[in-house]
Symmetry: C2
Subunit: 358 residues, 2 copies
Amino acid sequence: MFYHQFKLCTYISLLDTSARGFSYLANKLVYNQHGTPLRVVTVENETLNSVQKHEVVVKMLVAPVNPADINTIQGVYPIKPTLPAVPGFEGVGEVVEVGSDVSSLAVGDHVIPDTQHLGTWRNYGKFNHDVLMKVPKDIALTEISGITSNPCTAYRMLKDYNSLSPGDVVIQNGANSACGQNVIQIARHWGLKTINIVRNRDDIDKLKSYLKSLGADYVFTEEELRNISRDASIPKPKLALNCVGGNSATNLLRTLVSKGVMVTYGGMSREPVQIPTSAFIFKDITLRGHWMTRWQKENKESAERKSMMNELTEMMRTGKLAAPAHKFVTLKNFQEALMNTMSIQGKSGVKYYIDFRQ
Amino acid sequence: MFYHQFKLCTYISLLDTSARGFSYLANKLVYNQHGTPLRVVTVENETLNSVQKHEVVVKMLVAPVNPADINTIQGVYPIKPTLPAVPGFEGVGEVVEVGSDVSSLAVGDHVIPDTQHLGTWRNYGKFNHDVLMKVPKDIALTEISGITSNPCTAYRMLKDYNSLSPGDVVIQNGANSACGQNVIQIARHWGLKTINIVRNRDDIDKLKSYLKSLGADYVFTEEELRNISRDASIPKPKLALNCVGGNSATNLLRTLVSKGVMVTYGGMSREPVQIPTSAFIFKDITLRGHWMTRWQKENKESAERKSMMNELTEMMRTGKLAAPAHKFVTLKNFQEALMNTMSIQGKSGVKYYIDFRQ
């Protein structure tokens, strides 16, 4: 029902090599105002002329579609790009041209954004070299293109909020989300045990098996969660990761050890986090929040960031950190990705990528 | 209506010096089961015989009646004394006899409890010397008898949860409670500004003037609190102290700066603390809890504790830290203290003390 407005869009994705000194006929998604993504996002094309001294031209290869992208288009995310804007926080591309003053990047390098909002949903983009980060080329594009959000979020939440040692236990809700799957894999790599909470569904046994294949120690439904704090056979977590809110968050909290920490990084239920006073006073629970965008900004040049990127890329290279179940769409079919990311993200765990290679 | 059951109680408070080697005819409040304090607490008497080597006999002088005492009698507090029990966490007494192996205390010393639950609501008590702490004798009994709860709570909450410098701002609800008044005075002493939230009442101007006389920079009602986060003339707090919960806590939180901390130490509204997800993620708010009993236990021999006690007693000695408005009752009239502490604590700020000197 929202498709009619896109009928007139022309889709052109060819590199125009006929012009001198390279110029690129680029296709990009654009929104001129905030609103329902399917209503406000359209395809536009533009001609990119040759680079300035400090610029590079990037041919995008793959760009994930994240809930944060949707929220930004809707105008409900704290990052507000100047309009009109190209959506897309994440993606991986190949450098195809570099300006004369650029020494940090070369043609052929793979790069990801190293800034708050690059606008990755375009087949070609011209950027200042310092908003890009070079990444290894021997890592699958689905993995490396999404490294700065979910894998980094999972990594930092497991590392920064409570002191955990191998054998310690972490509990999380939304465990089959893209981030939740990263938590399971990184926790396993570090010797931490995970208790994973998911919503009940018809094929729950299949989902439980899948998460266990990633390294999950326990998988329970939200209904089962209500009772596990009374089950002495289940170890008590020191850390809870909450992306749901509402009752789910309150139930997570009940399982924690004294002096446990709950980190909130999402609110899929749209209900606030509700905490009994006694949990603060007598159980000494701490509640924190995590926003990867802020961390990346505050720690851009830090040793912690370099070390994290090295460890995560190595895990990806060796197959220890895989992207969640995913589906590719072409730029032309971007509406399918928008629509499904808005409705099923967190439920099925299927993540969409825009694939510019086709 | 609850008084009939006490009619048969005999009240005897005399030191019986007729017996050899000192024996004391003691009056104490006792409860044999948990329940409504006015129903379960009765007066009993006992004869205390001479001390053992490690014991001392203390003649109690003054003992505060705190909400925590009421909750303990009710059985809803995490500290559960063995029953039958003498109520009373706090109090100051004078040492009247010491055992032969006691060198840390002498007859005439003033002492306060240095243990989780001493049972102070008795005119004479025989205790092991190591559950008592010697305190200066030149400090008013109302101040020194309550030092370990409210003044220490206020002190630690202002010191331990966010790094504050002179000029920084603290917001608190329940600001006219016994603890709230300590927060105002200690904050003023340290050069911190306070925004104080109280419930509206007929004599609100009188209350505002009183809190300002203690050093409050701003005093607002709960209704006024809803708007102050939009008032640019009011500085943004780095720390919020919550003893109410419910909407009041949510409104406190809204006023905080990014990376602010809210410490919950009470829940007078009996409603949980409710936090929007965005406050955690995008504002990086931290929620903690404070329970002075745990801190005292975990830091019993610490330098921080000695330094805190020295600073607080010095503030009391120099008139910078006064007890809240209060009223004395005799042990015989303990019911008045129980009844009013249950109903008006936190509203009027009137604190009751049992006075054993009369």
